[in-house]
């Protein structure tokens, strides 16, 4: 009886793991097959990879598209990390009743879905004549309340003695932040940057609204438009999906611990 339930547990976990991994295998096999083979469910490697890749490069300006995605993700990450860590540190270190109220209010606005923000945001950027620009994609997401919250939670474990000692040594408040806080909190920055980078790299709805010209689109938008064609070429799409997923998979396997930390950040 006991043995049987043990076995069932392993079978259950193996099936779940298999289901979790299968689409990745499917993606890799698909990239080597024709679109017809893919929609017919062929589960063997084909010899169409080079052809699929060629068609992809002919259909879209791949280097430009990847550059767009990288540019948006990198700038969003850098700016967002700076603003959010300054704020998270500030809220935690210089507490006052008024600031706690602002902070609580900010957390409350996090509950408002993006759908309720996107129309005013779109009109805001339309009025500023900034539609179809990467800046308009980046700016609204850099003051991420979630990341501010993440930094504040992590700042709780930052030793105040360090701040006090630095003040005695004559460092001003910003020097303390840049020279002491930032190097000490390296792992927090790493975890936060993974989350922000991935969110920006994978973002769909907001770039879809903002970016119109083909040359400004991101890889995520390209995958979506390729697959919404009347006769989508799934072989080509699979190559694009592999390329789009590669950076996040690499980050995941290279920094698994930080990756999970970033995900969990909110419940510390």
């Amino acid at each position: 009886m006991r043995k049987l339930s043990e076995a069932l547990k392993y079978i259950f976990l193996i099936i779940i793991s298999f289901i979790s991994i299968f689409p990745f295998v499917w993606m890799i096999i698909g990239a080597t097959n024709t679109s017809t083979d893919i929609t017919k469910g062929k589960l063997l490697f084909g010899n169409q990879f080079v052809r699929n890749f060629k068609v992809l490069v002919e259909t879209v300006d791949l280097p430009q598209i990847l550059f767009n995605s990288a540019k948006i993700a990198v700038f969003t990450t850098l700016i967002s990390l700076l603003i959010a860590s300054l704020a998270g540190y500030g809220f935690e270190l210089y507490k006052s009743k008024f600031k706690e109220k602002i902070y609580a209010f900010m957390l409350l606005t996090m509950m408002v879905p993006f759908a309720a923000l996107m129309i005013p945001l779109f009109r805001l950027f339309a009025n500023a004549n900034m539609l179809d620009s990467h800046i308009a994609v980046i700016i609204p997401s850099v003051a991420s309340i979630f990341i501010i919250f993440f930094f504040r939670q992590n700042t709780k474990s930052f030793p105040l003695e360090l701040v006090q000692a630095a003040r005695v040594d004559g460092l001003n408040e910003f020097q303390i932040f840049f020279y002491i806080y930032m190097p000490t909190m390296k792992s927090t920055y790493a975890a936060a940057s993974i989350i922000v980078f991935m969110t920006a790299w994978n973002n769909f709805l907001w770039p879809l609204i903002i970016l119109q010209s083909q040359s400004k689109k991101t890889i995520t938008l390209v995958i979506s438009s390729l697959s919404s064609a009347y006769f989508p070429d799934f072989g080509v799409i699979m190559v694009a999906i592999i390329i789009a997923t590669l950076p996040t998979i690499l980050i995941f396997f290279l920094m698994q611990k930080r990756f999970v930390e970033g995900m969990l950040g909110s419940i510390k």
Binding site: W26, Y94, A116, I119, A143, F252, V260
Partner: protein
């Protein structure tokens, strides 16, 4: 105590610097979060096509009651939420409970595998699922070969099965994400509690129901609220997997808002009204979940 007081007065002296730290963030949140929230509310009382808008009072809300597309989208969104969230949370809890056992072999392998779907973008996995769930696709072929089904299932062509496909897809993508939260919380539970339960003769399933779930209540509440907000905002998946179809059977509120604003002749006022319907539902559900979660805690 003395040291504490001194530290406190020191903090006061430095407090004037604080706005240099939080200022930019507060201003940006005001412009890009608070202003849109208020502006959406104002827009929801207006009507008109494109930029020409006029005050319409509660007209948009009246329109909701006659708009069958809105009602379909609302119904679909609720169907996804009510069926998908409990299945996923329960599945994630069971997996987490299994993976938490220190005697389990290949623990980290299982954990990595089950977490892996989280690295995909919503668009990428939706398109992957679209290719897998085609009529002659790998899913139908496999199910036919295993003799689980006699006839291929019209996954993306039938209103019922399209909903099932969306639910399967979301569950694939997010179960591992939720599992990670439960695993982290489980590690904080003292193993001696389970030890004591075992000595008292409590079965594994009893331990799960009587110890694991009650101890994880705060995390379950948190993940449920997060999933609720996520499901009510469902957009990427339906756009890329089913396109909202067939015949609006998977259309969600977010997609309808998008269509009203950016696909059809823009009607921002009415779209804003629907966006506030989501805000309203999120608020009520979050309140309900807090209430239920809170009472059980007491």
């Amino acid at each position: 105590m003395n040291k504490n007081q001194k530290a406190k007065s020191l903090e006061k002296a430095y407090e004037k610097h604080s706005w240099g730290f939080i200022g930019i963030a507060v201003i940006m949140v005001l412009i890009f979060n608070v202003y849109p929230i208020i502006n959406s509310l104002v827009l929801s009382t207006m009507s008109g096509k494109g930029v020409v808008m006029h005050f319409n009072g509660l007209g948009n809300i009246r329109r909701l009651f006659d708009d069958t597309v809105f009602q379909t989208a609302l119904k679909n969104t609720f169907t996804f939420f009510i069926i998908q969230v409990p299945i996923m949370i329960f599945l994630a809890l069971i997996i987490a409970a299994f993976l938490n056992e220190s005697t389990l072999k290949f623990r980290s392998w299982f954990r990595t595998a089950i977490f892996l779907p989280c690295v995909t973008s919503l668009v990428a996995y939706s398109v992957l699922f679209k290719s897998m769930f085609s009529f002659d696709g790998i899913i139908n072929t496999t199910l036919l070969n295993l003799h689980i089904i006699q006839q291929p299932i019209p996954w993306l062509l039938d209103p019922f099965w399209a909903k099932v496909t969306i639910i399967l897809a979301i569950t694939w993508r997010w179960t591992g994400y939720n599992m990670i939260f439960y695993l982290a919380a489980l590690q904080n539970i003292d193993s001696s509690i389970y030890e004591a339960a075992r000595i008292d003769g409590a079965s594994k399933s009893k331990q799960f129901m009587k110890i694991t779930i009650p101890m994880l209540k705060p995390v379950i509440l948190f993940t449920t609220i997060m999933s609720t907000i996520g499901t009510l905002q469902l957009f990427d998946e339906v756009v890329n997997l089913t396109g909202g179809g067939p015949s609006d059977s998977t259309l969600t509120l977010s997609q309808y808002i998008y269509n009203l604003s950016f696909k059809f002749t823009p009607n921002f006022g009415y779209a804003a009204t629907i966006s506030y319907v989501i805000v309203f539902i999120v608020a009520i559900l979050a309140w309900l979940q807090f209430k239920v979660g809170g009472e059980r805690n007491a």
